[in-house]
């Protein structure tokens, strides 16, 4: 999987403007809805610290392995993506994700996962819109094949 891209987060630059999550839900769902975004921005008010939660795009995704419905497939960008029509809502993917970045929307009964905005010219919309570079698109390290 040499040359695959992934979104890298830089929490220290984040200002919680939520432009990434708003743009994500707008692009994918046609509405601005933080609970339908494929990434989340959390704030710890006591410490004034932010955390951006987004798929790490593992080389061998546990979520994909865990899915009993074959609803998670690798798309043209090399990213594991959920086909909602095949998803049985069992939750195995979210439970398997080691980073807690595969989200379940209770109101919409849907599992949501970053697909790197497959089909969008200009790459992932969250990366494009972030005003402060808290999200960057980077190539994953190419592993030497023995």
């Amino acid at each position: 999987m040499a040359g695959m891209m992934r979104i890298v987060t830089h929490d220290e630059r984040c200002r919680e403007c939520q432009a990434c999550t708003l743009a994500c839900s707008l692009y994918h769902e046609g509405e601005c809805n933080l609970s339908l975004a494929r990434l989340q921005v959390l704030k710890d008010m006591a410490r004034y610290q932010f955390q951006i939660l987004v798929c790490r795009h593992c080389e061998s995704p546990d979520c994909m392995a865990a899915c009993p419905s074959e609803a998670i497939q690798v798309n043209e960008l090399g990213a594991a993506a959920i086909d909602d029509t095949l998803c049985s809502r069992c939750g195995a993917c979210a439970a398997a994700c080691p980073y807690g970045v595969l989200f379940y929307s209770e109101t919409h009964d849907r599992y949501l996962k970053c697909d790197l905005c497959a089909g969008r010219e200009g790459g992932p919309v969250c990366v494009a819109i972030c005003p402060v570079g808290a999200l960057t698109l980077e190539a994953t390290a190419v592993e030497e094949v023995a």
């Binding site: 630059r13 200002r15 919680e16 403007c17 939520q18 432009a19 708003l22 743009a23 839900s25 707008l26 692009y27 769902e29 046609g30 509405e31 601005c32 809805n33 933080l34 609970s35 339908l36 959390l42 704030k43 710890d44 008010m45 006591a46 410490r47 004034y48 929307s105 209770e106 109101t107 919309v125 494009a128 819109i129 972030c130 005003p131 402060v132």
Partner: protein, 665 residues
Amino acid sequence: MTGGWAGRILEVDLTTGKISTRDTHLYARDYIGGRALTSRIAWDELPPDIDAFDPQNVVIVATGPLTGSLAPTSGRTVMTTLSPRIYPRPWHTHSTFGGWFGAEMKYAGFDAIVIRGCAPHPVCLEVRDGQARLVPAGDLWGKDARHTQIALKERLGPQVQVLTIGPAGENRVRFSTVQHAEDNSAGHSGFGAVWGSKNLKAIVARGTGGVSVAHPDRLMREVFELGTFRIAPFSGALYTTIYDKSKTASKERPVCSQACTFNCQVGNYGKSNDGRRIPGHCVGGIAWMTKGFMAATKYSGGGVEIPPSENFGLCEEAELHELCNSLGLDSWFRLVMQPWFIRCQQLGIHAIRGYPINPNDVFWFEDFMRQLAYRQDLGAIFADDLMRAMDELEGELPDELITLGRRLEFAFGFPAHREGRFWDEEPLPFWVISAMMYASESRDPTIGGHHSALLLADFVLADRELSLRQFRRLSEKVWGYPDALEPTFEHKAPVAIWSQHQHMLIDSFPLCDFAFPRIIVPPESRDEWVAAEDMTGDLEIDLRLFAAVTGESLTRAEVNTIAERAFTLERLLLARAGRQRQMEEEWLVPHFKLPCRADGTAIDAAGFSRLLDEYYAARGWDLEYGWPQADSLQRLGLEALIPELEALRARVAQSPPIVSPLRGL
């Protein structure tokens, strides 16, 4: 209507505990949302002749159709109520704030919340996914605003957004705030005290819904075309010594509002004593509490001496800033009280009623803030604001100090801003435009001022000849005549009225007044500005964002009518509270007779009267009271209000005028 509005307005009666809703669309067509919407509800439902602490006083928290969407800077909220800070009698006024609360309220299904009554014990209003309930908040009463929010987030989840009062609001300090997040607040108008009088400690919102968008692709395109991380406010690039672009872009700055994608120059980070990063914005915030800014608070002219405020250093300022937000005090009190106390010392007065004053000592200042919030010791005298403290201390202190205190509080209980004398450099004609706005609005025209005055004034201060040349072209395009921004006293009413209407809209869509309306193209450097032949900006962005989100296409003429309708209602609310021309002249002339700090220009009583004539006439208001007339109400679809307006005219003719303590100065 396909997008934008949540569709419902929540109504809460704290006395009876009754909770109900009404349809937002009763108002959306004629008032859009936000501040314009509140003007209608307040006119219909705020009883006349009550005190600000009367249980019948109504607090409205409102967002607009863009709130919660990706429209840049739209995460704003407006709050209105009968303000206890207005001197001597309250009237209806507003305050807008950024943050994340308004968006969460929309996601929970409500465009606005209308609150009346008084709870029998402290309560918290919880709003969650279309439901609302009142929960006892006795355990939160007494907590500061920061820890109240942290406690509620621990209890109800980190994603809840909270509005709350601190001890100052609980103790009805007349300049207490309603706080949100680190340093967002409904500030000037004493909203905290009104909440305190209602036993309302906090409102918590949590929603898992969204804001529907009529044209997602158009919205996305507008946002990207606007550009992310553009400098705001639009004069930011002028200060090349401070705002070197290469440094600015990499400088970390906080945002104060959801969906703000700008590189806003009015925010900054500081460090607390325990090492936490703290965000701060604008006056009172660590952004501006620099040595240079504090030195610029000095004023000398027309027999008035205002010493500069002391700067305590960035760490200390960061601490004071957080303390102010935690106690729930309007940080502007400092720009009023600190120089007054320093002047006391200069005149040899080192104690008031036995309480020592030492305003240049950070520890004294911190204690004083706590005393204000809890109405203890010296704070008990000043918690009703400087204007009322001067009434209390008249005869005990030299007349110079009493008069200075009244001048500093300025007009109607609000501190000066954008008026060219005490704190902002506003050369002619900008302070003239501000003066007209002061004379016709419920509070300092901070919001309108940011664009009509301060920002364009910055260009004049940077290069007078160049900017005046560019302004002639700009004026022709925006206002239809070339001398709108010439440094004269004439023909300024259209600019004041334009500013007021644009900002009514900015507060109603809503958007941030530091970024919109984009009257000029924000230069990214001083060189770019100098090279520009035409600096006129894109003034239709707000309408395009509105259309993309709501699916409604409104023309500039249509939204201007909406703005004028709401502004007229605000003026009628002032008329109902007894505000009229005599009061405006009596309170404002003593201030505008003082020389402008930027260019020494001033105006006498006759000149000020001519300004009012020009402004009232341009508005179609009468020249006797400065009130709207029947034909205006007819034109704006407010004809049902004509009988009450006539009754108010009959009443004002019989009533004794409200006399200014600065009369005759």
